[in-house]
Symmetry: C2
Subunit: 192 residues, 2 copies
């Protein structure tokens, strides 16, 4: 998606440690008009797929998923939680994932009553690198007996391999910007 | 806002410990059509106010704020973070707030470059009870030299006093549903 690639080049910053900072428009300050265009693009890409629900994970996925849902007939958005809380009761699907960014494991939790066996679920997230978070979300969808209808990603770091691993497993992954290389010394970002 | 009150009566659950569970439509599963109507209602209430930016706090505020922003000319949404991360660099506004729900203190952080002295900021959040989270957000807006144009809340627990404290300080607080009492034994929820 050219608009997103252009925005990454304009406002994204490649940093040491393989970090791409996009906090000016994606995951701290949010450009909701861009989110709307991203939603329209996923709707175009997944046209013809029945989507009953969108699943994402807190925190940065939530705004993108909620704005995108308006392009999928206002289907409900469920966001997985990364911690237990007094507000989480009843039976839960839960798994543990490792975050390379935060260098720690954390739980991924969805209350059972928000996923049903008959549902086709579109998973949406801001980033795909190693794919650990997505593997956790897929595991939860499939534990519910529901079906992953597709995976919509804003920015895929293609060279980290998580996306291709998921595609090899048969999932349809639609990333709106696929980065093939980043250089934190020159600031260069190239797309696949 | 009658639609939100009706939804709270229909799908909300008053639980022991003064907890109102609205995870079926507000803060775990998200009804984005309801969020859209909430955004339209805040836009009606704050018509005539110049709003340059919306500020919220992760995680449950993000979806509501991003959908609502579309009724405010797609102004940027900034969400305050509740933890440090490798993605947070540069100068920050930060304060500490106490969560009665989680019974612990946590930081509230916004990168300085996402708030400017000239801006009029609408603060949006899902809940207002004691008002601690909002006081943190107000402190951050005012540290930036920006102005709080208003505060838009989905559900205010009026009897906990946080909203009235903020109104006494001169802030305009528009809560779409104001609960005057809850009874976890009968399940009764009444509105102001």
């Amino acid at each position: 998606m050219k608009e997103l690639e252009d925005r990454i080049v304009q406002d994204g910053v490649a940093k040491a440690g393989n970090v791409l900072k996009v906090d000016a428009f994606l995951n701290h300050q949010c450009d909701v008009e861009l989110f709307d265009h991203m939603g329209a693009e996923w709707a175009r890409l997944f046209a013809g797929e029945r989507i009953d629900k969108i699943l994402t994970i807190e925190a940065s996925g939530i705004g993108i998923a909620c704005v995108a849902a308006r392009h999928f007939g206002n289907v409900p958005v469920v966001f997985a939680k990364k911690a237990q809380s007094v507000n989480l009761d009843g039976e839960q699907y839960s798994t543990t994932i490792y975050s390379f960014t935060k260098k720690k494991e954390y739980p991924v939790i969805v209350c059972k009553r928000f996923l049903s066996a008959s549902e086709r679920v579109l998973i949406i997230d801001d980033f795909l690198a190693n794919g650990c978070a997505l593997e956790g979300l897929i595991e939860i969808v499939e534990s519910a007996g529901a079906e992953v209808a597709g995976i919509g990603i804003a920015i895929e770091k293609g060279y980290q391999g998580g996306g291709d691993k998921l595609r090899e497993r048969g999932y349809r992954v639609e990333s709106l910007a696929r980065i093939s290389s980043m250089n934190d010394e020159t600031g260069a970002i190239t797309f696949a």
